[in-house]
Each structure stands twice: as C-alpha cells, then as structure tokens.
Amino acid sequence: MKKIEAIIQPHKLEDVKEALKAIGVDGMTITEVRGHGRQKGHKEIYRGMEYQVDLLPKMKLELVVGDPRADEVIRTIVSSARTGKIGDGKVFVYDVADAIRIRNEDRGDSAI
C-alpha cells in the first residue's frame, strides 16, 4: 500500500477530485493548509502596517491506494493539478505498513 500526499493549489482541488473520480478513486482526506516552496508570497498593508505574507493557502490531499494503482493515481493528480506556474505544489509517496477499517477491523488492501 502507498500513501499519496499531494499539496496543490486550492483552485485546482475540484479538477483533481474529478480526475480521480474518473479513474475510480473514491476515498480521500482533504485539509486546508498553508505553506510555501519557491513561490514568493505577497504584501498586505493594514493601516500602514506592512506584512510580507509567505505562507499561502494550499490544499493537502491524502489518500492510500494499493501498490498496483499508485502510479496511475500519481500521474492523474499531477496532470490535473498542473498549471505550469510556480506554486503548483508537490506530491509525496510513502509506504504504508497497514490499514485497519474501524467498523469491522478489516485489514490491509481490503480496508482501503
């Protein structure tokens, strides 16, 4: 099993969800996060107080899939989240030791 963690532009979330649905992925967890890589932030001014805002809003998408599907899912995320500009985000892939469904204690691939 692989855990795929993608940090993407908030406005690409719908595209990514649609693309994943189209290839039959139906489970994921999404978190609103803030962060930055090489992308520069922006300036905000409140009554003359200037702030350089580096941490920009992003969406973190997490899903766990069986090993055979991992590559296809990653390719789908990357192609649907891309705008070609700095700030598009990153995808990280981890090995998962086990998965347990809380309702009935299914384990491994059948739990995901």
Partner: protein
C-alpha cells in the same frame, strides 16, 4: 343611487354628533387652552419618540457597533477581551450615571463640574428640564446622554487593546468618568459650564454632539494610554493582522447608522435642525470614506476595505461637533479633510513616532475630533442653527463664514482645554491604577491572549 345613500349616511352622522354635543359649549378660553395643551403633547410625543430611538441608536454604536469594529481588528486570541471592553461599559457606566454621573455632568454647579442635585436621579422624571430640552421628559434626556458616557471610554479601549488587565481597565474607566468625562461634559453641555456657548459659558465653544467631550477626550486619553502601557510584545516584528475584517465592516456600518442618533439626536427634538445634522453627518462620512480610500490608493497602490471603513469613522468623528451648525457642502469638505488627514495620522505619523495605538483610537478620534472642532469654528452658520441670540433676541452669527473669526480661536481654546484635561487626568489615573492593580497583563498572559488569561474562554472553539 349610490350618491344618495352617502348623503343620507352623512346627515345621520351630523345629526348624531349634534346630539352628542348638545351640552353647554365650553368657553373660548377653555377651548384655546385645551388646544394648546393638545399641541404641546403632540410635539412632546414626536420629540420623545425620536429621542428614545436616538438613545437606542447611540447604545447600538457601542454594542454591537464598536465591539464588532474593534473585535475584528485584533488577533483572534483577543477577540472576546476586546468586545468585553465595550460591552461591560454598557453596564458599568450606566450604574455610575444613575448614582451620580448625570448630576455631575448636568447639575447646575460650578463652571467645571455639576452639583449633586440629581444624585440618585432625584427629581429626574417625566417633567422636562427646560434648560436642556423643553419638550421631552428629563428622564429621556438623561438616558440619551448616558449613551454618550458609555461609548466614550469604550473608544479609548482601542489604544490599550490586547494588553491591559481587565481589573485595571474597570478601575481606570470608573476613575476616568469622574476625572475627565463628567467635568468635560459639564463644561461643554452643562448649564453654566465654562465652554457652553448657549447656557452662559465664559468661553463659548460650539460642540454639537461631542467632538471635544467624546472624541478629543477619548482619543487623546488613548494616546496617553498607548504611551504609558508601551507596545505589545512583538509589535512591528510579528504579524498582527486583523483577525476578521468582516466583523469590522459590519461594526463600521452599525456605527454609521447609529451615528444618526448621536448627531441628529443631539438636536434634542424631531426638528429641522435634526434633519440638518442628519444630512451633514451622512455627507461628511461619505466624503471621508472616499478621501481615505483615494489617499491610500495613491499612496499604497491599493484601496483597502479597512481604509474605506476607517475613513468613514474618521468622517463621523470630525462632523460630530459641526453637525448641527454646518450646511451640507461644508460637511462634505470637513469629511474629506478628516479622511485624508487621519489616513496620514495612522500611517505616516504613527510609524514615525513608533507608539502602539493598537486600533488607532488617537489617530482617528483624537485627530479627527480636533480637526472637526476647529473646522466647526470656520463653517458654523446661523443659517443652519439660529440658537445663539443677543439680549434683544437678534440671531447672532456663528463661525468664520458668518463674519465671526473669533470663534475659531474659541474652538482652539476649547480643544486645548480638552487636550489638557485628557492628558493630565489620564496620566494621574493610570498611575493610580498601576500602583493599586498593575495596568498591564503579564508577559505570559499577553502571549496566551486576553480571552483565555482574563476571561477563561475562547471566541472560536474548534471542538464545539
């Protein structure tokens, strides 16, 4: 057919009326007296209705108006503490006012402070007090003026937000009401007050709705508080963005609406003067919002929403002393000047001197109030307000544009007295509070935020 039936009905009514009034006809004198009393009570009903609504509008400026405006501007860990500053004063000042405050402000006493004739609201009932407002119950006048006494110290809280101890804030407010507010209100509006232009003051000063009493006093005291308490931890090094400008926009809009009660209500009657003050207030606010926005757009490249609403408040402040004295176009001008000037106060001047006036109570109320008070001396005209008359009953000119340049000097003196009272009074009170309770929260409490450290609550509960 239809017409004939109407005529029949009409004659029937006439006949029955004649029967009803068949008794002895009252004398002309009685009928005139009855008529006069009916006219009087009709006027009183109209005026009283407007004044009760105005009182409620002014209370709405403090809560929720100011509470939302200030609450949105602080960081999320201080939202409740900041809103509480406004809310608790709605209770504290009310009690003070009932016990002794009204008497000290409006009792006829020395030129500086009122006497104790209205202690515990003694004699303040349904009968009007002709010196102040001849057509409404004195109790209406009393409760209307109370709402001003509530919002004034609440305005100061903008300067010490996010770092003052709650206990010290309460003590400060109580003392401040006695040392600064009651005397100033008496001097400007009380009978025989030193600055009261209409009721025998030595230095006749025009302040229709509280430019000196409310805005200069609170704004200048705010500056003293900001300097005395010192900067917040991390000021100018950490991010201290407003946590929710949506709240602030709602608060500013409530202030704008509530201010009609504040200014137009200060006519103390549902009169043409109230209309004039209403119009002047609205016009000045509009032009001040535009003035700040344009200045900021040119200066920073973007017109911010916070700028637009701050400009509106600056305009409301500046027109307050002038509202019942100036025509609509001077009002537009006063607003524009205040909007642009206050923008530079909170940006250029504040950063040059480096004081931490957290929510710009001085930059907006102190500066806007001072500009408004002085410009009142320029644009006040008897064409709007014919309340000032000489011994023979001739209406006197008011400001510079009425050919009375001396009024500008009177206004400046009034401003200086207000500044002096606010500076000295506030400094002494802060020192006392500091000795008795300590004015500033501990460093850990400040980091934690006032919501948790002072009140044991949070504004936004994630797990709820």
């Amino acid at each position: 057919m239809h017409l004939r039936r109407c005529i029949a009905l009409f004659s029937l009514i006439l006949a029955s009326t004649a029967v009803a009034f068949a008794g002895p006809v009252p004398s002309l004198e009685t009928r005139v007296a009855n008529l006069e009393s009916a006219v009087k009570s009709a006027q009183s009903a109209g005026d009283n209705a407007w004044m009760l609504v105005s009182a409620a509008l002014v209370l709405m400026m403090t809560g929720p108006g100011l509470a939302l405006f200030y609450g949105g501007l602080v960081r999320r860990k201080n939202v409740l503490g900041t809103m509480m500053h406004s809310f608790i004063l709605m209770a504290v000042v009310t009690v003070l006012w009932a016990v002794v405050g009204y008497s000290l402000a409006f009792g006829e006493g020395s030129p500086i402070i009122g006497d104790l004739r209205y202690l515990f609201l003694n004699g303040v009932g349904a009968a009007p007090n002709a010196d102040y407002a001849a057509t409404i119950p004195q109790q209406t006048f009393m409760v209307y003026q109370l709402m001003f006494a509530i919002i004034t110290p609440a305005l100061i809280s903008g300067a010490f937000a996010e770092r003052m101890k709650f206990s010290a804030m309460l003590l400060f407010t109580v003392l401040w009401a006695f040392v600064v507010y009651f005397p100033l209100a008496h001097m400007v509006w009380g009978k025989g007050g030193l600055l009261n232009a209409f009721l025998g003051g030595k230095i006749p000063c025009f302040d229709f709705a509280g430019g000196t009493v409310v805005h200069i006093s609170s704004g200048v005291s705010a500056l003293v508080c900001a300097l005395y308490l010192g900067k917040r931890q991390g000021y100018q090094s950490e991010v201290m963005k407003p946590h929710n400008l949506v709240l602030s926009v709602i608060g500013a809009c409530l202030l704008w609406v509530g201010w009609f009660g504040f200014n137009a209500g200060s006519a103390l009657a549902a009169s043409a003067l109230a209309t004039s003050a209403f119009v002047a207030t609205h016009f000045a606010t509009a032009s001040a919002a535009l003035g700040w926005t344009i200045a900021e757009w040119l200066h920073n490249g973007k017109p911010s929403v916070l700028g637009a609403i701050s400009g509106a408040v600056a305009g409301l402040v500046a027109i307050t002393p002038a509202s019942g004295f100036v025509a609509p176009f001077p009002a537009l001008l006063i607003g524009l000047v205040a909007g642009v000037a206050c923008f530079f106060m909170v940006t250029a001047v504040k950063s040059k001197f480096g004081y931490d006036d957290t929510l710009d109570a001085f930059g907006v109320h102190g500066a806007g109030g001072t500009i408004g008070a002085i410009l009142t001396g320029v644009f006040a005209t008897s064409a709007v307000n014919d309340g000032l008359k000489d011994a023979s009953g001739k209406v006197l000119g008011l400001g510079l544009i009425d050919g009375h340049p001396g009024q500008v000097l009177n206004q400046v003196i009034g401003v200086l007295i207000s500044w002096g009272f606010a500076i000295v009074g506030t400094l002494i009170i802060l020192k006392i509070c500091d000795l008795v309770l300590g004015v500033r929260v501990s460093s850990d409490e400040e980091r934690e935020g006032l919501d948790l450290s002072m009140h044991g609550e949070e504004g936004y509960n994630f797990e709820a």
